[in-house]
């Protein structure tokens, strides 16, 4: 699948971060939608299932891992890359066990992110 055909959903409560990231992805030819909380994320996924979700673990209200659980339960084909600002790999490992494709620690290196997204889109997992 070509980059321009990817359907990506970004979920993070840090608006500055997530909108800018979306813009940067757009500059690289990747279309993405942005939501700021877990509930909206699940709604968005249900309405228009994306190929890929970039999901922050620390969200207000519904926790990131619950969102992940919800996505995995309803849409097992949707790949999820977790983001965490927190150093505890516990969340990451737990996320991986729940079926996340990978996880990354903020701040991100956009090239590495795109690498991982490409891997995910390649569908090797």
């Amino acid at each position: 699948m070509e980059k321009k055909d990817w359907n990506v959903l970004l979920v993070d409560d840090e608006r500055d971060f997530v909108t800018t990231l979306s813009e940067r992805l757009a500059l690289r030819g990747i279309r993405s939608r942005v939501v700021f909380d877990g509930e909206s994320a699940l709604r968005e996924v249900a309405e228009n299932p994306p190929h890929l979700v970039i999901l922050d673990v620390m969200l207000p209200g519904m926790k990131g891992l619950e969102v992940l659980r919800g996505i995995r339960a309803g849409f097992p084909n949707v790949k999820v890359i977790l983001l965490t600002g927190h150093g505890t790999t516990k969340n990451g490992i737990e996320g991986m066990k729940l079926g996340a494709f990978d996880y990354m620690i903020k701040p991100l290196d956009i090239d590495v992110l795109i690498e991982k997204m490409t891997e995910a889109a390649g569908g090797r997992r």
């Binding site: 840090e14 500055d16 971060f17 800018t20 990231l21 813009e23 940067r24 500059l27 690289r28 600002g85 927190h86 150093g87 505890t88 790999t89 516990k90 620690i105 903020k106 701040p107 991100l108 956009i110």
Partner: protein
């Protein structure tokens, strides 16, 4: 009162200070020793003293009583002897009429019979009321002698009987006189007078069978000896001591004789006559056994006190040593817990800070990244190169910040340990290979002394590499160019291995040494995070090992890592 004293004396024990100084242990030991010794010795002393006096009193009675009884018996013998003789004389005086006794032939016959039945009679005489000797039977020719002027005659005429003191007779042996007056129906008075040889007294005294150093003798109330004594003069000499107070029962006094010797003096006055019987026993000989007992008592006492002191001292020593050891162990454990808590709380703080910073940092990162992206799309942008350089600088700084926050998070992270069987030498060689290039470049010699016979151990390869790398990096930073680093492995105890890293670098000050494992403590101002060694410390503790460091400024540093041969769950964080 007692309680306050006790509490005051032993406040060292109640003290809450964690460090007991050697002086306090010394004073505590001294106090315990003194208290225990006093508590043990005082009753012993009391017992010994009571025993001493009781025993002496008992022994004294033991010696005194037989002496008193013997004296009493002998006095009875004397009284019996005198009473018999007096009765005999009295009997003769009353049994025969004057006329019969007046005939010397009759008198001699009576005397003969009398002398046969009772020994000791020397002569017998009849004296009329005018004091004239009427008849006489005996060895001397005393017939016709007039006694009217002599005091004994007037006494016998008044009192009826008379027993004289001992006196020296004509032939120079001691005598005494017994005289009895008799009055017949017609009112005529006469006196029968007998002389007794008092050598018989010596036999009575000899019957007491006293010990050779003792003495017994008869005296009159004036203190004139009536029998010979062994040590206090011959018969009719004066006793060289004052007379004891009058007493008719056997009495015993402790006194001194004329030569100053301590003696037991037993005596008894005769109620009927003027005599006093005395027995003397030197106290020295009487108490000979007592002195022996006293010596034994003293010996046992001294031995007991010595034993008490020895035991008390040893016990206290043991007690104090145990106490000190446990205090020190407690202190050490306390410090370790404190250290672990410190690390843990700093770790939590670090993680919190890192997390809080990471989110805004991520935003900055994206903004700067977007800036650069946009600049890349606008070749006509004025000062484009300058802005790209600026954006790169921002991104570079962000990366630096990220490195720091990631290391901080790594420090706080509770990494899961994955144990595997590994060869410590191999892990070490792997790690060293990372550094070979730098070492070669700087001319630093890395000397390996690896014990090839070491057993494989259960541990975490990745974590150990991290540990070795941290220590070796520090060593490389410390040594000058052309310096030397020695890496050595070996067995520390049957259960553990030791890996030591010695460098000849700049070394550390005492102050640095104390903080070397604390997080954020660094000497590499500006370049170090101060986390390397504290992470190292945490990892080694987690692996159940230990790390020790010694260093001398200007001479170098020695790090020694101890690892258990078998994996062990470590509770500390």
């Amino acid at each position: 009162m007692l309680r306050t004293i006790f509490r005051h004396s032993f406040k060292d024990l109640h003290g809450s200070e964690d460090i007991l100084s050697p002086e306090r242990y010394m004073s505590l030991r001294r106090k315990i020793v003194v208290l225990m010794a006093v508590v043990a010795v005082v009753p012993l002393l009391l017992m010994a003293a009571i025993n001493y006096y009781e025993y002496r009193a008992a022994l004294g009675r033991e010696i005194q009583n037989p002496l008193r009884i013997l004296l009493s018996k002998t006095k009875n013998s004397f009284e019996l002897f005198l009473a018999e003789r007096t009765s005999t004389v009295s009997f003769i005086a009353s049994a025969y009429p004057f006329e019969e006794l007046a005939q010397e032939k009759n008198l001699k016959r009576i005397f003969k019979v009398m002398a046969q039945v009772f020994d000791g009679f020397v002569d017998l005489g009849l004296i009329d009321e005018n004091g004239v000797q009427v008849s006489y039977a005996g060895p001397y020719s005393l017939a016709g002698k007039n006694y009217a002027e002599q005091s004994w005659f007037s006494q016998v005429m008044i009192r009826g009987t008379y027993i004289s003191d001992v006196f020296m007779g004509y032939r120079h042996f001691p005598h005494m006189v017994i005289a009895v007056r008799h009055m017949d129906e017609s009112g005529k008075n006469w006196v029968v007078r007998a002389t007794i040889d008092t050598t018989r007294f010596d036999r009575l005294i000899a019957a007491m069978s006293l010990e050779p150093d003792s003495d017994a003798f008869l005296l009159n109330k004036e203190g004139i000896l009536q029998t010979n004594s062994n040590y206090y003069g011959k018969v009719l000499e004066r006793l060289p001591m004052p007379m004891p107070p009058q007493a008719y029962e056997a009495r015993l006094v402790e006194t001194q004789d004329q030569s100053g010797e301590d003696i037991y003096l037993a005596y008894s006055y005769f109620p009927e006559t003027d005599f006093v019987l005395m027995a003397v026993k030197p106290r020295g000989s009487a108490l000979k056994t007592w002195y022996m007992v006293k010596g034994d008592l003293l010996f046992i006492f001294v031995l007991g006190v010595m034993a008490i002191f020895l035991v008390v001292y040893k016990m206290t020593d043991l007690l104090i040593r145990r106490m000190r050891e446990s205090e020190e162990r407690r202190e050490l454990a306390f410090r370790q817990v404190e250290h672990a808590q410190k690390l843990s709380s700093i770790g939590r703080l670090a993680a919190g800070v890192a997390h809080e910073i990471n989110n805004p940092l991520a935003a900055i990162n994206e903004k700067a990244g977007l800036m650069k992206d946009l600049l890349g799309l606008r070749p006509d942008f004025p000062d484009r190169e300058k802005f790209i350089t600026l954006a790169d600088a921002i991104l570079k700084s962000i990366r630096r910040c990220r490195d720091i926050t990631h290391r901080m998070l790594g420090f706080a992270r509770r990494m899961d340990v994955s144990y595997e069987e590994l060869d410590i030498n191999e892990v070490l060689a792997d790690t060293l290979s990372f550094l070979d290039q730098e070492a070669k470049h700087r001319g630093v010699a890395i000397v390996r002394e690896l014990d090839e016979s070491l057993p494989r151990i259960l541990s975490d390869r990745g974590q150990l590499q991290q540990v070795f790398l941290n220590i070796l990096n520090n060593a490389l930073a410390a040594v000058p160019d052309d310096g030397k680093i020695e890496v050595k492995t070996g067995e520390a105890t049957p259960d553990s291995l030791a890996i030591s890293f010695r460098d000849n670098g700049c070394g550390m000050s005492q102050d640095t040494l104390e903080h070397v494992f604390e997080p954020f403590f660094t000497t590499k101002k500006g370049t170090g995070t101060g986390l390397g060694l504290s992470i190292t410390y945490g990892i080694i503790k987690k692996l159940g090992g230990d790390i020790a460091v010694t260093s001398k400024q200007g001479e170098g540093t020695l790090f020694t890592v101890y690892l258990p041969k078998t994996a062990r769950k470590e509770a500390a964080s």
